[in-house]
């Protein structure tokens, strides 16, 4: 099925048999899809009991936006694991060799185009403000850590793209940024145990504050990880990869 992974664009060698297989598969998948639709039609949607329970418990959750309440209180464990997923990808994509600079370094190739500089000067502060707004408003209205993190990452990526900035992802501070969200989440989850007897069970009075702490940490981590992802994809230089190519094929000697 995935035995041939294609990287070149015009590798189209359609023989008659493969066309036949494709056609048959298309028909099969179409049939299966229609059966799926039929099965969905045949069943009634369940009554929204869980929705009602969730909406009734909002007052205990410390936030007013129901989605934020579900994400960071009722089902906060899912969100905890989800931040771990982001951390996995960040660790996997960390660069191999250190550039041996500080966390941020101004690039020597500063853009000279006036429009670009003007744009950056407007866009960056705006998106930082928007991100903070999204984070804050997440408690009451649509918004929250993931959206805020994404917007913040947008600002960071813009700075990277115009080559104003370089980030050294192997510094301790960089790794601390990556791990911040997960670490704060786990620590908060553990520290509430003496108060309420259950992990992740926030005391009602402090729920709002604790959720805000988690969200701020998560936003910073998410933004940093997303910047790392884009930056690594853009800047993966050939020279980074070369030394390992001399390794014998098929051997994994460390």
């Amino acid at each position: 099925m995935f035995n041939k992974l294609e990287f070149e664009e015009n590798a189209k060698k359609t023989t008659r048999t493969s066309r036949l297989i494709k056609g048959l598969s298309a028909v099969t998948i179409g049939l299966l899809g229609s059966m799926l639709v039929l099965s969905v039609i045949s069943a009634e949607k369940a009554a929204p009991e869980l929705a009602q329970t969730a909406l009734d418990s909002i007052s205990l959750s410390g936030v007013e936006n129901p989605v934020t309440a579900v994400l960071l209180n009722f089902r906060s464990y899912d969100t905890l694991l989800e931040i771990a997923v982001l951390l996995i990808v960040a660790v996997a994509m960390m660069p191999e060799s250190s550039r041996n600079t500080s966390l941020t370094a101004a690039n020597s190739r500063v853009p000279t185009h006036p429009v670009l500089i003007g744009l950056i000067r407007c866009v960056i502060p705006l998106s930082v403000i928007l991100s903070a707004y999204l984070l804050w408003t997440g408690a009451y209205a649509p918004g929250g850590a993931f959206q805020a993190g994404a917007v913040l990452a947008g600002a960071g990526v813009a700075l990277l793209l115009v080559k104003r900035w370089q980030l050294n992802y192997l510094r301790l501070s960089a790794r601390a940024f990556m791990a911040l969200g997960l670490a704060v989440f786990v620590i908060v989850a553990a520290t509430v145990i003496p108060a309420t007897g259950r992990a992740l069970n926030y005391p009602a009075d402090y729920a709002g504050a604790l959720i805000l702490i988690i969200e701020v940490a998560a936003t910073l981590s998410i933004a940093f990880v997303l910047i790392l992802l884009v930056d690594q994809l853009l800047n993966m230089a050939n020279k980074q990869v070369k030394p390992q190519d001399t390794q014998t094929e098929g051997l994994d000697k460390s």
């Binding site: 099925m1 995935f2 035995n3 992974l5 059966m35 039929l38 099965s39 969905v40 045949s42 069943a43 949607k45 369940a46 929204p48 009991e49 869980l50 329970t53 418990s57 209180n73 009722f74 089902r75 906060s76 464990y77 899912d78 694991l81 771990a84 997923v85 951390l87 996995i88 990808v89 660790v91 996997a92 060799s97 192997l170 301790l172 790794r175 601390a176 990556m178 791990a179 997960l182 670490a183 786990v186 989850a189 553990a190 145990i193 309420t196 007897g197 259950r198 992990a199 992740l200 069970n201 926030y202 390992q244 390794q247 014998t248 094929e249 098929g250 051997l251 994994d252 000697k253 460390s254």
Partner: protein, 506 residues
């Protein structure tokens, strides 16, 4: 909101710790990033982890009932519960022992800072994902846990750093993402029809309607992709053979079992009203095909690690015999089959991890793992070959090992349910396993013939700890054979439908 009347023993607080500890270890190793200290801390963390799980095991036996831990204090429909029963505790036990050995092995295996700085955080995240999957009582939470397992496994396979391994990792990643999406679609349909994500509540309300069939089919396809049952196994051999040896050990021993565990949960418990006998027999049929094909491919494999990877495909086939053996043959045959398969999972996990570790040691020492060049390898790698032999005996199902007890239990439940054809499959499978195991062993024990060996070149000294870890696991396989009663008694504490009724326990 929490259901009243649930008695919490203090030991139940270990349940979130089992997940939190690996997560903290991951953060810790990421921040330390010094290969020597990461390794030391990891061994320390693995030991604490083992102690915690052992404590959980003994407390669970004392309490004698299924544990539920309400994260966030909200309780089942609104919040997420951690659930621990006999099946999951057995898998947790297998995980913790393998993790302890693999951690110690890896501390000696990985040397370069480029590899260690990534390996340790990823490894602990993988462990956290495995524990989360085995403890989860919530369908969507299982999705996230499976994603953690899948993505961290992919990243770990890619650590090997050569083109073939990274290509295998990419294929694995595509399969994993596709499988997760199918699973998520199934969960979405279940949520649509029954309005809850909690597995225990679902198993009470699910009916055998078309939407449940559709959901179960989607969930099964997704999980079969991840478990690599025969027609969908194509991604497994290159990924498991190409990964660094400790990673291969964990992948074959634990990662594929996690998705099998979820699959068993859905077929036997959550969606059991929708599981027809035909479908169960079909799963068993594919399992039987996997046994034969896996053995055949292992016999033809050119490289040692590839041979071990194909043997995983074959051994996974045995697990799927669970489904036909439980199909409509009454509670006694069903529970016996589940106990046999749970035991087989542990036995296979130990044996396969030991085997990959031995193969990794041999590969590291010789610089190659082509089977044809392994002639006489026993003279300078006696411990590794011995480890391989014991683990192989367990895979074949020879007497003093855990594998023998597992096969024997499987045979028993096949006889009890009167399905003689599965008896034939189990026996033939053992015979074919013997062929590929002895193919390696005979070569390894044959004396070198003059100049032929000179092509092998000099061997490199490898750390004693690596050989010791593999050997310990091989010993554990034998020890398991002598302690079958102890492990099997946990199957009495079971949530799965036909064993303990479907009501959540007090």
């Amino acid at each position: 909101m929490g259901a009243p009347g649930i008695v919490m023993t203090s030991a139940q607080h270990f349940l979130p710790l089992v997940i939190g500890l690996p997560l903290l270890a991951a953060v810790f190793c990421l921040l330390v990033s010094n290969s020597r200290w990461s390794a030391r801390f990891s061994i320390l963390f693995a030991s604490i982890h083992t102690l915690v799980v052992m404590q959980v095991l003994s407390s669970l036996r004392d309490s004698g009932s299924v544990w539920r831990y309400e994260l966030g204090g909200w309780g089942a429909p609104l919040g997420i519960d951690l659930v621990l029963d006999g099946f999951s505790v057995i898998l947790l036990f297998a995980t913790t022992i393998v993790v302890l050995c693999v951690t110690t092995y890896s501390a000696a295996y990985f040397k370069t800072p480029q590899q260690t700085s990534r390996f340790w955080p990823l490894w602990w995240l993988l462990v956290a994902g495995l524990n989360a999957a085995f403890l989860s009582g919530d369908a969507f939470n299982l999705y996230v846990a499976l994603e953690i397992i899948g993505l961290s496994s992919v990243a770990l396979v890619a650590l090997a750093g050569n083109v073939s391994a990274i290509t295998a990792a990419l294929r694995y990643a595509l399969v994993g993402l596709l499988g997760s999406l199918c699973y998520l679609m199934g969960v979405a349909l279940l949520y649509r029809a029954y309005g809850t994500l909690d597995l225990a509540l679902l198993s009470q309300t699910v009916q055998g309607t078309p939407i449940t069939w559709a959901a179960l089919a989607l969930i099964s396809v997704g999980l079969l992709l991840k478990t690599a049952l025969l027609p969908l196994h194509f991604w497994l051999p290159p990924a498991h053979a190409g990964a660094p040896a400790p990673v291969s050990a964990a992948l074959s021993a634990l990662v594929v079992k996690a998705s099998f565990y979820v699959l068993a949960r859905f077929w036997l418990d959550v969606c059991s009203p929708a599981a027809s006998a035909d479908a169960l027999n079909l799963l068993g049929f594919f399992g039987a095909c996997a046994i034969f094909w896996g053995c055949f491919a292992a016999c033809r494999a050119k490289r040692l690690k590839l041979l071990v990877a194909y043997s995983t495909v074959a051994q996974l086939g045995y697990l799927f015999l669970l489904f036909p053996l439980t199909a409509a043959y009454g509670p006694s045959a069903g529970s016996a089959a589940l106990a046999a398969v749970a035991y087989l999972i542990v036995a296979h996990a130990f044996a396969k991890a030991a085997m990959f570790m031995a193969a990794g040691s041999i590969q590291l020492a010789c610089g190659y793992d082509d089977i044809d060049r392994l002639r006489g390898v026993v003279s300078h790698q006696p411990i590794s070959v011995f480890t391989f032999a014991i683990a192989g005996a367990s895979l074949i199902g020879l007497p003093p090992t855990g594998g023998f007890i597992a096969k024997w239990l499987l045979l028993n439940s096949a006889i009890d349910s009167g399905q003689w054809w599965w008896i034939a499959v189990i026996l033939c499978g053992g015979l074919f396993s013997a062929i590929y195991i002895f193919r390696v062993l005979i070569l390894a024990f044959t004396a070198r013939q003059g100049e032929q060996s000179s092509s092998g070149g000099p061997t490199h000294p490898i750390p004693q700890t690596m050989m010791a870890c593999g050997f310990m696991l091989a010993i554990a396989t034998v020890a398991l054979g002598f302690n079958a009663e102890w492990l099997l008694s946990y199957m009495d504490i079971n949530l799965i439908g036909f064993l303990a009724g479907t009501e959540p326990l007090p």
